[in-house]
């Protein structure tokens, strides 16, 4: 689409200004304040003092290394499962959905119509100690007599995967849907076997959606603490749980702010590394496709 070069030149800035200001004041500047809070020392009673205490970063990393590692481990596992579950589902909807495609897509986003917390609470019902799943697993012998699913790592990871699965399916579907059927036919003429067509044509062409899906799943999963809180125990707590309780329960603002920074920094580094790995083209490809 052709863009106008505005005669007065100021109109685009005027349109942007209110929204940009809101984001600068309530998103960008707060990150600076958070850094400021991280570098203070003190507690709620005696007050906080600016000491530029840079030790807060290594200190909080070593103190909460378990929770940090757990966050990225759980988020990683959840992302891989979401990919394994989500890609075939997106593929099915895109290529076999036929006239039911939109209805199937609606089913994928249905969970969004129920409050996140209520959805997660319903997993407490599903995985409950005397619930259907635990009982059947005990009958089959997979779970011991005193075995349980609730309050375990599996429950937390399953909850995270569940909550972010639609974020994996939707972008993958969006890029699969744009693949021209004729390209697939050409692919089967060339390679013959469906497996080769999927590996050499479908997967590469759905790369923008795959990349977007992985990021949209991994980032919120790494910062999540609801699933660990409702489906796990303190032994499953992630960095989000620590940040929340340090900030809101024990008023240890510097540690909480430092941990938030560390979480954000690690995610940015991982996203940058990931972008290098898959090629920035795949990252910006989403944008490029949308522009056509």
């Amino acid at each position: 689409m052709r863009r106008l070069r505005d005669r007065r030149g100021l109109l685009p800035y005027a349109l942007l200004a209110p929204g940009l200001l809101w984001l600068i004041i309530f998103f960008l500047i707060p990150l600076g304040y958070m850094l400021d809070v991280a570098l203070q020392v003190g507690d709620l009673e005696t007050g906080f003092e600016r000491t530029f205490n840079l030790w807060v970063f290594p200190d909080s990393i070593s103190q909460y290394s378990d929770q940090l590692l757990r966050s990225f481990l759980y988020a990683g596992i959840a992302t891989v499962i979401a990919l394994v579950v989500g890609f075939p589902l997106a593929y099915f909807i895109a290529f076999r959905g036929g006239r039911w495609r939109n209805a199937l897509l609606l089913l994928v986003i249905l969970p969004f119509f129920i409050t996140y917390l209520v959805r997660t609470l319903s997993w407490q019902t599903i995985l409950a100690d005397d619930g259907l799943i635990v009982d059947s697993l005990k009958t089959v012998g997979i779970l011991g007599d005193d075995g349980r699913l609730l309050a375990t790592t599996s429950a937390v990871v399953a909850g995270i995967t569940y909550n972010f699965l639609p974020f994996m399916v939707l972008p993958i579907y969006a890029s699969l849907e744009q693949i021209d059927r004729r390209v697939l036919e050409a692919g089967s003429d060339l390679y013959g076997r469906r497996r080769d067509v999927v590996a050499r044509v479908v997967v590469p062409m759905s790369m923008p959606g795959l990349v977007a899906g992985v990021l949209l799943t991994f980032i919120p999963a790494a910062g999540d603490f609801i699933n660990a809180e409702l489906l796990g125990t303190p032994r499953q707590f992630m960095i989000g749980n620590v940040i929340q309780s340090r900030f809101l329960e024990v008023s240890d603002y510097p540690t909480a702010a430092a941990l938030s920074f560390i979480l954000m920094a690690v995610i940015l580094v991982m996203v940058a590394a990931y972008a290098r790995m898959v090629g920035t083209e795949a990252l910006t490809g989403v944008e490029r496709q949308a522009r056509h």
Binding site: F27, L230, Q244, M264
Partner: protein, 271 residues
């Protein structure tokens, strides 16, 4: 052999897709089912017996109803503000060539790539530094902040492919700039704006994480549920969730039906 293998693969993919959809939908079925449960204790986790009482007394838990109303108020205000701000930004980004467009695009993307817990904590740092009291206003500020980028992305994707010649036609016919915007541009981009607004509303009414940092003593619907998850969840939580769910599904189905009808009508006229 090859043919059977292929058919097997064909059916196993369908079965796999059905299982995946089951994973997504099972909790919804449980939530709807348990809205009709008559729980024995404070928690609504175990099926006892069927009752319609919860639906008849849906608004009986007054704290929950208050929190729900607060959430609706927050969502309406935050949706209106973020939809206006986001639509203006999307218009600027799609329609004009100006210096600094790439960095602005990147900056708008940043909040989407930041974990919610960081967004909430950062904003709270500001309120702490100014000793500002947190409450309704700070919740709205936070919600607008995280909704704006989503609105920009949604509206932008609908603006691409917008047919400029209609505006030019309006101006050739003597319409002024504001007239063209209100009578031609706005109606045409309305579906995108509505989609952005709906998304903002859904995000706002659902948010627990960011709100928990900036709520003060104000209690929203998700905050109330979180508190209840520690001390006992009444079945009314399921009833309200089911109400929102059915309401949204009804709207979706109605919109799709309307669209189909309009398409059919257009098709009939074209013939």
């Amino acid at each position: 052999m090859v043919a059977t293998g292929r058919r097997l693969l064909h059916h196993s993919l369908s079965a796999y897709a059905v299982l995946a959809l089951g994973y997504l939908l099972a909790p919804i079925a449980i939530i709807l089912l348990f809205s009709f449960n008559d729980p024995a204790g404070r928690f609504n986790f175990e099926w006892k017996s069927f009752t319609l009482d919860n639906w008849a007394n849906a608004f009986e838990v007054s704290d929950l109803t208050d929190a729900f109303v607060t959430s609706l108020e927050v969502a309406v205000v935050a949706t209106v503000i973020s939809t206006i701000l986001g639509t203006l930004m999307a218009l600027a980004l799609v329609r004009y060539e100006f210096r600094g467009r790439p960095p602005v695009n990147f900056f708008i993307f940043l909040p989407l790539a930041t974990p919610e817990v960081v967004l909430g904590a950062a904003l709270l740092s500001v309120f702490l530094s100014f000793s500002a009291a947190t409450g309704f206003v700070t919740i709205v500020i936070a919600h607008v902040m995280f909704c704006v980028s989503f609105v920009v992305v949604t509206v932008r994707s609908r603006l691409i492919g917008f047919d400029r010649s209609l505006e030019e036609a309006a101006q050739d016919l003597g319409a002024t700039g504001p007239q063209t915007f209100l009578r031609v541009t706005l109606p045409l981009i309305m579906p995108g704006v509505l989609a952005g607004g709906l998304l903002a509303f859904a995000l706002s009414i659902d948010d627990y994480v960011i709100t928990s940092f900036n709520s003060g003593s104000t209690v929203t619907y998700p905050l109330w549920i979180f508190g209840a998850s520690q001390r006992g969840v009444p079945p009314q939580v399921n009833v309200l969730a089911a109400m929102i769910f059915l309401f949204t599904v009804a709207i979706m189905v109605f919109t799709v039906w309307q669209q189909r009808r309009a398409e059919k009508l257009a098709g009939a006229l074209a013939e």
